[in-house]
Symmetry: C2
Subunit: 240 residues, 2 copies
């Protein structure tokens, strides 16, 4: 079937669902069938479909710890938050709630609470990495949030699977951010601080909730470096 590019093109508008299902594959069997406009020339289609942009994004996203001093637009924050809410959750409870912080003083304040708490938990051994990390934590300039322009805290009522669900929501946010040119990093070193009663109150988190994740976002200084390769999957056992 041959269709003009113009004909197909008008069926896509930003963020809107596909309007004409006749342009899609006959039967919807998943993402590629659902989402991709079928281009007119088959030889082009073959190459176009050969890309899997989701897997590409998963494999090229990487942690970013150096940011431009430039705010993350509100529309991008909204897109990222919506992506978070589409994570799976146990019995569809959707436990995630968000605190959005862009105020530099507040971010630095939480970092300053985090640093001594972290120092206390580090084992007192003469490991080189630990020695460097101790010295960083003792430096008043050091910010556990890497001076990112945006920190999003993900909280939820304490329940068995909220930690799993909120982690998947965080991963959705980081993947969505990446597609918008926005870098991210999960800041595990903030975990102790953000679950103190004082910081929870600051962040608007109810007492019976836990803060499961602190994730920083911003435009990466100098663009995205290539993601390092990960170790091949380690298979403990196959039972076939």
């Amino acid at each position: 079937m041959k269709r003009s590019v113009e004909n197909g093109a008008k069926h896509h508008v930003w963020g809107a669902p596909l309007l004409d299902s006749s342009l899609l594959g006959q039967k919807s069997h998943g993402f590629l069938g659902n989402c991709f406009y079928k281009p007119p020339e088959f030889h082009y289609l073959a190459n176009f479909m050969s890309m899997n942009p989701v897997i590409e994004a998963i494999k090229s996203r990487r942690a970013i710890r150096s940011y431009e001093d430039k705010p993350v637009p509100g529309s991008a924050i909204q897109t990222m938050l919506e992506a978070a809410t589409y994570a799976p959750s146990a019995i569809n409870i959707q436990p995630w709630k968000f605190t959005i912080v862009t105020k530099k003083e507040e971010i630095k304040h939480i970092s300053d609470i985090a640093k001594p708490l972290l120092l206390q938990t580090l084992p007192d051994i003469a490991d080189e990495g630990l020695i460097r990390f101790r010295s960083a934590l003792a430096n008043p300039q050091y910010n556990v949030f890497y001076n990112a322009p945006l920190v999003v805290f993900i909280s939820g009522a304490k329940s068995t699977y909220a930690i799993n669900d909120c982690s998947m929501a965080a991963q959705n946010m980081m993947l969505a951010a990446y597609t918008l040119g926005i870098g991210s990093c999960w800041i595990g070193t903030a975990n102790l601080a953000i679950n103190t009663p004082k910081v929870k109150a600051d962040l608007g988190v109810p007492e019976d909730h836990e803060v499961f994740a602190a994730v920083i976002f911003g435009y990466p200084k100098g663009g995205f470096p290539k993601a390092p390769e990960k170790r091949p999957p380690q298979i403990l056992k196959r039972i076939d």
Copy 2:
């Protein structure tokens, strides 16, 4: 700049990185710049780029609990496992290890261990949903893995953040699966069973490891239903 479709097309091969960076945007500022071939006609480009296939996948993936009796190909399993390994992890520890089970008797066996353990934990109250669930669990035919042709168990050495990291790995697997037309569902109801010493030994999981996730995969019977809308993001507080 006008390029023929043929000229651009030859630069993509299945799974291979882009070979000619001159076809890409001038500077790489994230996913769209990195991954997308720049098509020749601008009016087409404008519409093409307006799709965000990653966010589309995040928002249209949904749990699948009814599967065709058809195996998941080994190449798809490998792609999904690789996607898992590209999740972020605390201090890049990459804690995930995998057990792949396709043997129906083994899957049913673990389900049969899970059901009485689950029954014990259910509160003894006259809730309609709970009554239905109790009766399902008492039915010998009921399989907590929904007779899926593939179950992947994700384990890791016990450590503070392994549960977060393995949850993000699970989400990467489920997103990758979706792009391959493969449905999935995290089976939280298996959690008690899969952490008993007997089942851990069966699954090849070392004693000092925890099994963080059991995820089922397969081709959805009747295709993918439309994903239900989720609640809008709940923002506890903004600090600007």
